[in-house]
Symmetry: none
Subunit: 74 residues, 5 copies
């Protein structure tokens, strides 16, 4: 297999990490919704901001995105 061809396949595989981040984010926000509906007043008492948690999970997907970019153009 030539180098250019392998880059296409490798980048595609690396992009799959974004799918895992999508599942994780759905789990985060889904459970956040349930909790917020059960106890709306507690939203301001959470010590872990949901947007912080979003950023931390999204980062895993973006690492995969970065690896895909490195493979394609690095």
């Amino acid at each position: 297999m030539e180098l250019e061809a392998a880059k296409m396949i490798g980048a595609g595989i690396a992009a799959l990490a974004l799918g895992g981040a999508g599942v994780g984010l759905g789990n985060l926000f889904g459970n956040y919704m349930q909790g917020a509906f059960r106890n709306p007043e507690a939203q301001s008492k959470l010590k872990v901001n949901p947007m912080l948690a979003f950023a931390l999970i999204e980062a895993t997907g973006l690492f995969g995105f970065v690896i895909a970019m490195i493979i394609l153009f690095g």
Copy 2:
């Protein structure tokens, strides 16, 4: 494997990230539904809008879509 052939397979693999986003969105909206049925009045009190959460999760899938497009036409 030739470059053109590898592009087809790589783009197909990258598209799988959309599947992860689909699972995550289902988790988000499914849990939102349950919470909203349990406490419908709290819908206007949510600090994280479900449509914002949708956009953030969808973005992970669209990153995969973008990588697929880059592989095919980049």
Copy 3:
């Protein structure tokens, strides 16, 4: 591998994104059912219509379908 052969395999892989959408839709409607049974009167109070949520999740699968079509005929 020849280009025509790779198209067949790539399109098949891209179609898997539809499986993720299927799981997500099941999660959406399954949780909707549970909530609706628990509090049937709240069905008209939901601010996020389940059919809107369906369309948003289905879209992730259709993106994969579109990529499969692009691979096959693009």
Copy 4:
């Protein structure tokens, strides 16, 4: 790999989307059952018919089936 051989593998992979639809349908009907057992009288009040939800989820699997057919005979 020859074109005929690749068709067999691509169609097989595309069929996996039906597995995702199966998981989703199981989630739908499983949760429907739980809700119906908890509140049997509410069955006639549901605004989203479980058979409609079934059709919408099944459709994701059928898209994968269609792609498999296109790969094999298209």
Copy 5:
């Protein structure tokens, strides 16, 4: 397959570990949210800090990232 080509594919596969970390982090924070909403006062009593748990899970993904980097540039 040549060595350079194999590096591209190997790095892509290694990046998948980040997807698993994404799912795990979503599970961690999602369940944390639910618990914190149910009993906000207990947040300061938790003996396992959620950020410690985050770091431990993230580390699994970063190991995959490191392996991808070693494959590409090592």
